[in-house]
């Protein structure tokens, strides 16, 4: 049994703790209400403070020479104060009726902010001059509404919409999850492309303004008790894109479907990246007409699809280079191993044709690559299993995502033995499967970005940096920067193998008989490989991967043009135009102006959508900002 003194002590301790806690509260109250009274009182008298957020500028996208790819413009956004608007039950119906807005939407928005909240809630972005004028005139009829200027995206020319990506309003679930640390309904968040990938860096941080208001909620002016908290503008993203080359590349593909990629071999920086058909980013920055939205969801053209990372195609003959190098390195064949090509290979009942029905005669590895002889690779394929194909593909990064700094990258498919076992039964796959795989057809699929990684590894002789857009994030305010780094893939092959690959790919362009010899330029030497990807839905897709100048390549390109036939005819010329332009720029020559067709995306023509003014950082908000040459609404 416990001692009475012990229980006394325990009770005493509890009473002591309880009284201490209450005394701390009293002490705090004495401090706030008696000692610090002057200070607090002045706050209260002059106060009736209302907080209002200040939107930061979203970071710009810059090309490699610092030219803006996307800027900001001032946008007039209508805000409403829930407590005030709900006080007058006719206010919302009147407002909705005047502008033909949905009353339910306005009500929901205000409720999200809290029925009794005095914090302004974003209601309608981008209101027109007429709407603004009306509201200014009828200010007294609509207490609790205010119009604030906010920066919003502006695009000077329709460039690389898939890569830059667009913004969308944050939804309630994302807000609840706290995806934005200072998010409120109506805020924009990166939805696609670089806007999405770098959202956290581009976004910046909101500032806060403390405003003095009177009993009716009218703003009297700033307060001096709490200094406004300036917003922190988002970081600019400096990309490796080159505006001139990008324009050029877009023009090359105008009216067609496909992808153009151009990358620096040493750094992995993408100089140009085009996916066609495309769309105008302005449609996503303002309000989108429904007929455009319907076009964008066209199931066939799929203009919203970023074909660079989401289009999957058979690699076709591009793969022959990778398979040959792998077979040589593994000792499956040596470079003198020869095959006689009579234009076809008979396999039991079936005849597999070479693309050249006349035949290539005696073909060794060099000639097989240069002239893209199918029969040579059929014969090689007969020595292999799908797992070999998969191993060869994995050497060149074709079995994994490239890790490019865009979200939503797909990886294609390179099936191995297990996949075929599952499909046809154990060892049930036929030799026909191997014939197809050996020439990059059949079930094997890659994205153009994966093909670029492959081409980059060949051009870099085994050293392949991750293809990427973002180079540096720059803090405009402080000048500070963060250099973005990416992993480098390293493929070590013997010098003999490299020598073979180099000579053969160069012969594709430089030597008579090469499939891209028609593109040979006197100014420089180039190397590459053409491809023609059979397509069950129609005309074959034309591929080209190439690099220049040989023997020390600096840029590498991958081009695919859908349903355009042979790579040598439809794809290689595009790549060489880019090579020419790249060299012109390097030698300090200007580029010829790209043709007019660039102005509007071919998928959906919309006459008045393309903006014309030059971009600059947005401004004109409630805080000091650099002057803005904006596309004013007036």
């Amino acid at each position: 049994m416990r001692q009475p003194t012990d229980i006394q002590l325990r009770g005493g301790v509890l009473v002591f703790i309880q009284l201490t806690l209450l005394l701390i509260l009293l002490g705090r109250l004495v401090h706030m209400q008696i000692i610090g009274r002057e200070d607090w009182d002045s706050r209260s008298l002059r106060n009736q403070v209302r907080t209002q957020e200040i939107a930061p500028h979203r970071g710009l996208f810059l090309d490699r020479k610092g030219r803006p790819l996307a800027g900001n413009r001032p946008s007039y956004t209508l805000y409403g104060i829930p407590a005030t608007l709900f006080k007058d039950s006719t206010a919302l119906p009147r407002l909705a009726a005047v502008f033909n807005w949905e009353e339910d939407f306005l009500r929901r928005r205000l409720n999200q902010g809290g029925r009794h909240s005095l914090k302004a809630v974003k209601l309608v972005p981008d209101i027109t001059f007429d709407q603004r004028a009306f509201l200014a005139e009828h200010r007294l009829d609509f207490p609790g509404l205010q119009v604030l200027v906010e920066p919003r995206r502006q695009y000077d020319e329709p460039i690389a919409p898939h890569m830059l990506g667009y913004l969308g309003e944050v939804d309630e679930k994302e807000l609840a999850e706290g995806r934005l640390s200072d998010g409120t309904p109506g805020d924009l968040i990166g939805r696609r492309g670089l806007e999405r990938h770098y959202d956290g860096d581009l976004r910046g941080r909101k500032g806060v303004d403390y405003l003095r208001v009177d009993v009716r909620g009218r703003v009297l002016g700033p307060t001096d008790i709490l200094p406004p908290l300036a917003p922190r503008n988002g970081f600019d993203l400096e990309t490796g894109l080159d505006l001139d080359l990008q324009r050029m590349a877009e023009a090359q593909l105008a009216g067609r479907r496909g992808v153009v990629l151009l990358m620096e071999v040493r750094t992995g920086r993408l100089l140009a990246a085009v996916s066609k058909p495309d769309f105008l980013l302005d449609w996503f920055s303002g309000r989108m007409p429904p007929e455009i939205w319907a076009n964008l969801n066209d199931a066939d053209a799929r203009p919203l699809l970023n074909r660079c990372i989401q289009g999957i195609y058979p690699p076709g003959s591009l793969f022959k280079v990778g398979l040959a190098a792998w077979a040589l390195e593994k000792g499956i064949v040596d470079e003198n191993w020869s095959v006689s090509c009579g234009g076809s290979l008979r396999l039991g009942q079936r005849v597999a044709h070479c693309w050249n029905l006349k035949g290539h005669g005696t073909v060794n590895m060099h000639k097989a690559i240069q002239q893209s002889c199918d029969v040579y690779f059929y014969q090689l394929g007969l020595k292999l299993s799908p797992d070999h194909i998969r191993e060869a593909a994995s050497w060149w990064g074709l079995t994994e995502a490239t890790g490019v700094d865009l979200d939503g990258e797909k990886t294609g498919l390179v099936p191995g033995n297990a996949w075929y076992d599952k499909r046809f039964g154990r060892r049930g796959w036929t030799k026909g499967v191997m014939l197809n795989l050996a020439i990059g057809q059949g079930e094997i699929l890659v994205t153009p970005m994966q093909a670029l990684r492959f081409a980059g590894l060949v051009a870099g002789r085994g050293r392949g940096p991750t293809p990427h857009f973002g180079v540096r994030l720059v803090d405009h305010a402080t000048g500070g920067e963060r250099v973005l780094t990416y992993p480098v893939k390293d493929l070590r092959l013997s010098a003999r193998t490299w020598s073979m690959v180099e000579r053969a790919t160069r012969a594709v362009v430089e030597d008579v008989g090469g499939t891209a010899h028609g593109q040979k330029r006197p100014r420089y030497q180039a190397a590459g490989k053409t491809g023609t990807a059979e397509n069950p839905h129609g005309e074959a897709h034309a591929w080209y991967m190439g690099w220049m100048p040989e023997p020390n390549p600096e840029v590498v390109s991958v081009v695919i043009v859908e349903n355009a036939g042979h790579g040598s005819e439809a794809a290689a010329p595009v790549a060489f135009k880019l090579f020419d332009a790249w060299l012109d720029l390097k030698e300090g020559k200007g580029l010829a102006a790209p043709p007019d067709s660039l102005g509007t995306p071919d998928s959906t023509r919309q006459g008045n959508a393309a903006p014309t003014n030059s971009a600059s950082r947005g401004g004109g908000g409630a805080f000091p900002a650099p002057p803005m040459v904006g596309r004013g609404a007036e």
């Binding site: 009274r37 106060n47 200072d182």
Partner: protein, 407 residues
């Protein structure tokens, strides 16, 4: 008139009057806080109070033996209801705290407060209960731990903190060895020390020394030390693993003023309101912050700020003093109570109330995080008011029987 004499002698007037005074102040302030709105919350609070009176009377007039008898059942029912809420929460995909029976909505976690106190009191007042034995300590912790976890998953941080806060004073009152008190508190202390490695090491050393001399078992000692060390050392590592926005959430929770647009908005407005009240206040219905609706949640979580603005230090001091009288009186009776069950239960109720008072007023004055715990007797709201009234009924009841040793 001997019954009148008995009533006058035995009824705990101190408790009753301080309770009624707090209720009256609460309704007055609520009336002012609803200025300019259609609903008069002061009047509605009076309605809630009148409807709660039968409950209070039942709690006050049923003999303590009844409450002793039903304490296990009460615990079981509370846990079942909490489970039910959790399951409904799963179905409803959100934070569910309410159960609806017809038109009546109530929060099982409120019943849980009463049930937890009663069942712990019963366990710890058992004649065989020996808190120097590990199994009894674990039994007590289990009794509190299960409802605590259920409430935490709702998720309701404030209430689960209440549950854990209540348990320790009851264990102390029941004679838990002081070394064990230290062991129970050691994870919290270790967490606080984790900011500085030397302080942490010092604490672990002290803990080891105390445990060594207290002759705690080797396993208990090892467990306590390793738990403290793990928490102390792992916490900073865990912190770095969190996403930036998760870190920010915690920082804002601990210091709301770092987020002036969000959580800090209420705190800033509340502090301006209380501070500007000064010694005498701005006068009833005269508070600028309150009347202009700058103060959000002013009927519920921030009712104290309205009091502070309109009645000044005089008002806030009165309320805190009244709570002091009520709570000290409760603890003193709890201490002297001849019956272990009643004494422990009273300790528990006092702890529930003092925790709410300290956290709520601390929040309004900006020295405690925003947990959304209401202020007893003053905050508008049915379920919580009724819980408090039930507690007051039980306190009056047990105090009436303060010289009876048997239940």
């Amino acid at each position: 008139m001997s019954w009148l004499h008995t009533l006058l002698r035995r009824l705990d007037w101190t408790l009753l009057l301080s309770f009624l005074a707090l209720m009256a102040i609460g309704m007055t302030v609520l009336h002012s806080a609803s200025g300019g709105q259609e609903t008069d919350y002061g009047l509605r609070q009076l309605l809630w109070f009148v409807m709660g009176l039968p409950l209070l009377l039942v709690c006050a007039l049923t003999p303590p033996s009844f409450w002793f008898a039903i304490s296990w059942v009460a615990w079981g029912v509370a846990v079942l209801l909490l489970l039910l809420v959790d399951l409904m929460g799963l179905v409803g995909m959100g934070a569910e705290r309410w159960l609806a029976i017809g038109d009546l909505h109530f929060q099982p976690s409120e019943i849980g407060k009463l049930a937890l106190v009663l069942s712990l009191a019963r366990l710890l007042s058992d004649n065989r209960a020996d808190l120097s034995q590990l199994k009894w300590v674990l039994a007590a912790l289990g009794l509190a731990g299960l409802p605590l976890l259920l409430v935490l998953t709702q998720p309701d941080l404030g209430t689960s903190l209440t549950y854990s806060f209540v348990t320790v004073p009851m264990l102390i009152r029941a004679g838990l060895p002081w070394s064990w008190v230290l062991i129970l508190l050691s994870p919290i202390i270790a967490a606080m020390c984790s900011l500085n490695i030397f302080v942490l090491l010092l604490f672990i050393l002290i803990l080891a020394a105390v445990l060594y001399y207290s002759e705690a078992g080797i396993w208990v000692m090892a467990a306590a030390l390793s738990v403290s060390a793990t928490i102390g050392f792992a916490l900073p590592q865990l912190w770095t693993l969190l996403h930036e926005y998760q870190q920010k959430r915690i920082l804002v929770f601990l210091n709301p003023e770092s987020d002036p647009l969000g959580a800090g908005y209420q705190i800033i407005q509340s502090k301006v309101a209380i501070g500007s009240g000064g010694l005498w206040g701005k006068g009833y219905m005269e508070g600028g912050q309150t009347q202009l609706s700058f103060l959000p949640e002013r009927q519920t979580d921030f009712i104290f700020s309205v009091l502070g603005e309109e009645w000044g230090f005089v008002g806030t001091f009165t309320v805190v003093a009244l709570f002091g009288v009520l709570l000290t009186r409760t603890l003193v009776i709890a201490l002297k109570h001849r019956n272990g069950f009643c004494g422990l239960a009273m300790t528990g109720f006092a702890s529930v109330l003092v925790f709410h008072v300290v956290v709520n007023i601390g929040m309004a004055t900006g020295i405690a995080p925003v947990t959304g715990l209401p202020l007893p007797f003053l905050t508008y709201g049915g379920t919580f008011l009724w819980t408090c009234m039930a507690m007051v009924g039980l306190l009056l009841n047990f105090s009436w029987h303060r010289r009876d040793s048997l239940t």
